[in-house]
Amino acid sequence: MKELTPGMMIAVFEEMFGMGLFWALVAGAVLVTLAFLFVVLRDRKLVASRLVRAELLAPIGAIAAILFVQFVTSSGFSDIGGPVDVIALILIGVAGAGGLTVLAYVLQGLLGNRAGKAS
């Protein structure tokens, strides 16, 4: 690959997911991030009980993300061949874990109780 510019990365991702889905995913990620900020700013703190409950889902997010990548790519754990593969696997897991944790926290924050009444 020649130089990897942001414009090119976007073009590649648009082709990978399709224009609509890609921007929907970006929008979804932005939405959840903003919702997270909103909840945290509203409560002016991270609510420990919610965070703990959200974090319980982290391993599920990690495993789901890894299995999803393997499912869409005809590959599995036995294909891990070198250190960079382990790093990639960890990064995918971390992304899944982080994503689901934030999502769970946000959902509790928006749908559940307010900070004061939480737990």
Partner: protein, 443 residues
């Protein structure tokens, strides 16, 4: 606390607005990054022969760079074929439709598509004649015809044999690749001799013959039938791969997989009834019997270029007919208003889509410079890449240049000579998307 929240004014309705603004800004950002240097005014007539990987990518970039030019692209094929996908189709991982789109899906508005083959090129009077006799005059001509698979050079071979009696041919097209998988699948159930080879001519994606040997081995292992198979790879010369360091790695991998190598074997004939292939070797003709074979035919320039004054006039490529262009500028050495890009270019390396990605901006640079009365500066260094699949789920991301230097895109991160899962992900997930982005002139 409630008062504070109100002050921040981030209620649910507001943050929706914020999100929409952010999303919009993102989209605008991507558009802005697409904005190109201001267009060059010209009345030039540019004719591109071939709307494959190279012709389409170049057309998309030229419409952004030029204003007022008349750009004509000539190609009789209605389907656009993503050829790197053939290997995945022939491994049973993707359907034949994976590689097929429509030629017109990728062409920008502002170019004229002539839906027929070019039949004749007269570079002296700067004129192309199409199959129906239509004449197209040009100021600049881009050869992007790809290459011709010359099955006829193997005695006894023709395309209608593919998909029967143990004969496969991954290169022949998406449907043939699917038929090849059906034959390979039968073979890996029943067992016997698997015969793999490559032609002695220049060829596109020189790694593909090796990949298919690896894939067949892997699929037999997954079925628990590897013991029933004898695997033979007939190399056209002394090496498995032209880059010495890669060749050595492949030698080790073939040894590890139990794939026997016969060197200096060039297939010259096939007897589909008896299932015997004949090879020319330094010790005379040799026969090898097979139960399954992946035939990769000799390759040459399409007739329209081969029969024109444009091919090399001396050296090893006279018969194969590749266009005689400078290996760094891709400009014809005798007819400076002609460029060649993609497989048709007579350069020592680079018959891959990955090379196309690097060649297209070079031709664009020299062409646009010429139209503004300047000299271009871009140079093609022979970059080519071959995700060498070594089994389903693993590959080696091999990238190299004219000098046989390894030129990894991710040095220190993705090792080129290691069988890696991430390299497989590149091939299976990122390659087609990158190819498509390249077609649109965006990568």
């Amino acid at each position: 606390m409630t008062r504070q929240t109100d002050k921040l004014a981030l209620d649910r309705r507001n943050f929706l607005k914020v999100f929409m603004a952010a999303g919009g800004a993102g989209a605008l950002g991507s558009l802005a990054s697409q904005a190109r240097a201001s267009a060059v005014q010209t009345k030039a007539r540019i004719v591109i022969l071939g709307a494959g990987a190279a012709g389409t990518a170049l057309a998309n970039r030229l419409v952004d760079r030029l204003s007022g030019a008349s750009i004509t692209i000539v190609d009789g094929r209605k389907q656009h074929l993503y050829q790197p996908g053939f290997t995945l189709i022939a491994a049973g991982l993707k359907p034949a439709s994976y590689s097929v789109t429509s030629t017109t899906d990728w062409l920008p508005s502002g170019v004229t598509l002539v839906e027929e083959a070019a039949a004749n090129i007269d570079p002296v009077s700067r004129k192309v004649t199409t199959a129906s006799g239509k004449e197209l005059e040009y100021d600049f001509l881009i050869l992007a015809t790809g290459l011709t698979l010359d099955y006829g050079q193997i005695e006894g071979m023709s395309m209608d044999l593919i998909g029967k009696n143990g004969i496969g041919s991954v290169y022949a097209g998406p449907d043939y690749a699917a038929m090849t998988y059906a034959e390979m699948s039968r073979f890996t159930e029943k067992g016997g001799v698997g015969l793999f080879s490559r032609p002695a001519t220049e060829m596109k994606c020189a790694g593909a013959p090796l990949k298919y040997a690896f894939l067949t081995d892997d699929i037999a292992r997954r079925k628990g039938n590897r013991g029933k198979l004898e695997m033979v790879y007939a190399a056209h010369n002394k090496a498995l791969f032209s880059v010495p360091i890669v060749n050595e790695k492949l030698r080790m991998l073939f040894e590890d997989r139990g794939i026997e190598v016969r060197r200096e074997h060039v297939m010259s004939a096939i007897d589909p009834g008896k299932k015997i292939a004949t090879f020319q070797t330094p010790d005379g003709p040799k026969e090898i019997g097979y139960d399954f074979t992946n035939i990769i035919p000799p390759m040459r320039a399409p007739d329209v270029v081969l029969n024109s004054p444009l091919p090399w006039q001396d050296g090893p490529w006279v018969k194969q007919g590749w266009a005689e262009v400078d290996k760094h500028t891709l400009r014809h050495v005798r007819f400076p208003e002609v460029f060649a890009v993609g497989d048709i270019a007579g350069v020592p390396k680079g018959k891959t889509a990955a090379s196309v990605k690097w060649q297209v901006p070079v031709v664009e640079d020299h062409l646009v410079a010429a139209l503004s009365g300047k000299e271009g500066t871009a140079s093609f260094d022979g970059y080519t890449s071959c995700p060498m699949i070594t089994r389903i789920g693993r590959a080696m991301l091999i990238e190299f240049d004219y000098k046989d230097n390894l030129v990894p895109s991710f040095p220190g991160v993705i090792a080129p000579l290691e069988e890696l899962w991430v390299s497989w992900l590149m091939k299976e997930v990122a390659l087609k998307a990158t190819y498509n982005a390249m077609l649109r002139g965006r990568a």
